[in-house]
Symmetry: C2
């Protein structure tokens, strides 16, 4: 450890620590002659739970608030609605399936592997229907990718409305997927790779009642799309499309069709409901942008944040957050404590994979005064995450989707954070 850092950290920490201990349930003991020594954790006085207790485990009861949450007033009915990943309470980059956000258009359906079928038809030599067992016989790949709903942060267009990063930015998760490249299955059906592929599309639909059909240009279909059946090592959860969903790396979550039932190769897009009346971006002049598939570079501070206040006094503080880009790798994240007037470059927890969440940390000191916290992400294309003002200039305020602007948290001297706008 660097000696200067060591001494600095240390002097600062001992100040902060006293305050932290005094703030705990065991605070009384802090009045003793040597509170730091008398506070040793007791040994358990009894044995604990055996290895036969939980064949499949859940989080400990004390973490009962780290759950998906929906907002009833956002939608008319929970079967066509969303809930949010508790990103304020998570760290690292992987999202456990159990608390990864859901978005359904007609509810999460149950399909058995034995009953499952996937058809490829349309402009192919040999239309095929694959059983789940068939899919397991093709070479498969493992990749970590983020999945973000196009409407993530959508409530922020009209102003700072939801007071929690779980609700402003929680329609995202990041998992290690195992699946067969879509290009492999298209080749199996005899896709005619001659001619201008730029004129060809695939139309993908799910087996749920909504079908949620989406058109995908052939270039993307052959690039990195995966027909996935595992996430974070285990089977997809029912709510994430068990047994098979499409993974469309870096593109809006609505295209990651769940309970995938059919892929039709076509000579143009379908212009379905989900890509015309929905998932298009209405500009100031009333014109709607369509085919805005890629999720641009974005970041947000998860701690401190409205659901994760500062619980200690002045001194060492870790500012932590997430950054991601549908265009590839995150190369840099800057953090501002003064609403964007000055910036410090954050440390990346580790270099994230392409089109995957990257965790960033600013290892800093809190002077005990209020702050206007912001994070700003940059990706490998050189793109820089815009301010809300810059985004509104181009997009107006009628949009619902693709809001990737810089988020601001106001943190007061008590460490309480709230969602605010800065002009």
């Amino acid at each position: 450890m660097d000696d200067d850092l060591k001494s600095t950290t240390r002097r600062a920490f001992l100040r902060g620590s006293a305050a932290a201990v005094a703030g705990t349930a065991a605070g009384a003991a802090a009045a003793g002659p040597d509170p730091l020594i008398t506070e040793l954790q007791d040994w358990a006085s009894a044995t604990g739970e055996g290895v036969d207790a939980t064949p499949y485990g859940l989080p400990i009861e004390f973490e009962g608030d780290v759950i998906r949450r929906n907002v009833p007033w956002l939608t008319a009915d929970p079967i066509s609605s969303i809930n949010f990943t508790p990103i304020h309470a998570l760290d690292g980059t992987i999202t456990p399936q159990g608390c990864a956000f859901e978005r359904h258009h007609s509810g999460a359906i149950e399909l058995r592997k034995d009953d499952y079928r996937l058809m490829i038809n349309g402009l192919v030599d040999t239309p095929l229907v694959f059983s789940y067992a068939d899919l397991e016989r093709f070479p498969r790949e493992n990749h970590v990718y983020f999945c973000e709903c196009a409407a993530n942060t959508g409530m922020e267009w009209a102003g700072a409305q939801l007071n929690g990063v779980q609700f402003t930015h929680g329609m995202i998760h990041n998992m290690e997927y195992t699946g067969v490249p879509l290009s492999t299955l298209l080749a199996e059906a005899g896709l005619d790779t001659a001619g201008d592929l730029a004129d060809k599309w695939v139309y993908v639909e799910g087996a749920d009642a909504s079908s949620n059909g989406r058109s995908i240009p052939m270039e993307k279909a052959l690039d990195d799309c995966l027909v996935a059946f595992k996430a974070n090592g285990e089977a997809l959860r029912k709510e994430h499309g068990y047994p098979v969903r499409l993974v469309v790396p870096g593109w809006e979550g609505n295209m990651w069709v769940k309970w995938m039932r059919r892929i039709e190769v076509m000579d143009g897009p379908v212009e379905s409901r989900e890509e015309t009346s929905k998932y298009t971006d209405v500009l100031e002049n009333g014109v709607a942008r369509k085919w805005t598939w890629v999720m641009d570079a974005k970041s947000v501070i998860t701690s401190p944040s409205p659901q994760s206040p500062i619980t200690h006094g002045p001194g060492p503080m870790i500012i932590s957050g997430l950054a991601w880009s549908g265009h590839g790798q995150i190369t840099r994240v800057d953090v501002s404590k003064d609403g964007g007037m000055t910036w410090e470059t954050a440390r990346l927890g580790k270099q994230g994979d392409s089109k995957a969440l990257t965790r960033f940390y600013l290892d800093t000191e809190w002077n005990g005064e209020d702050m206007l916290l912001q994070a700003r992400a940059m990706d490998e294309t050189g793109y820089v995450q815009p301010t809300k003002a810059q985004l509104r200039e181009v997009r107006g305020e009628n949009s619902i989707y693709h809001n990737n602007c810089i988020q601001t948290w106001y943190v007061n001297a008590q460490g309480i954070a709230e969602n605010v706008e800065v002009s």
Copy 2:
């Protein structure tokens, strides 16, 4: 896709596919004029479950066999016992916490974050006790590491005894950990880094009734050990040491002290029960090797395997498995179908992290005849995983721990696999 591969795969697949479909519940339809077309997945006729149904989700009911399993006759009592990760049913590399193996010496205990204390004492300038909140104020890191019990595969020393890869190799999991480097906390307490660190050790104990104390040489303590509080993004589970455990990358799982309560800096090892009468390797001549901390390079085929038979006919087949090394990265995995006479080099799902699980695949063809399947791992040090005969030559058969030999599955013409030994 390569044209030769494409045509080969395709011809072969279509043979295999018919057989596969005939083997499914929908097999009857296969008698029809064009079964592959008539098999299209139905759309759901009703809406599914809403987003308010499961704030924290569990696997779908159809995956109810993908669970940790213990073997009652292995130990006298489940509070000092083990269970096994269902690696036969997982893919990719990440292990979900819910089905990651457990090993307790006096059961899994419950500790609240507010009550938690971690002491550092002994040969330091300033003995310190950290609260959980204190730990959150130090710079933290994210790393994916495997954790393998030293006794994993221990039942195989005496011969092929347990007929399932979950039981022969399932005392392993692989997670993304978030924590503070142990070196940072030792620096905070003022570890005297002058003098010969090679003479110094840390003794680490847990807050469970067994305490499970282990001595770790200072070089390792300062290298890559993490004081971890998150795994796969969320809090550690109760059974994995909530709220804080030690992560000792590449070293035997018993040293990854759970419910971590104290770190004492000493001028030598303690020679505790867990590093003398246990977790030492008795050789043929009765002499016991001690301080055998590193888990050497190892691999195993997870599918096909006794719990994961081949369910299709001849033709395309994916042989899948896991490889890992406590010395760093896996560089190559070979697979044999004839008990080690001939080998083919497998494809790595992706380059695994150092001291983390690496997934391998052999994309091959099954001729429908019986096989003696083996996998052989190599790591960045050039080490090659040994045969059982080679390992016994050096270690005898009295050992319990550190069995990293090549595993053999006999697969018959019906695709059924069993655990066997080859001379």
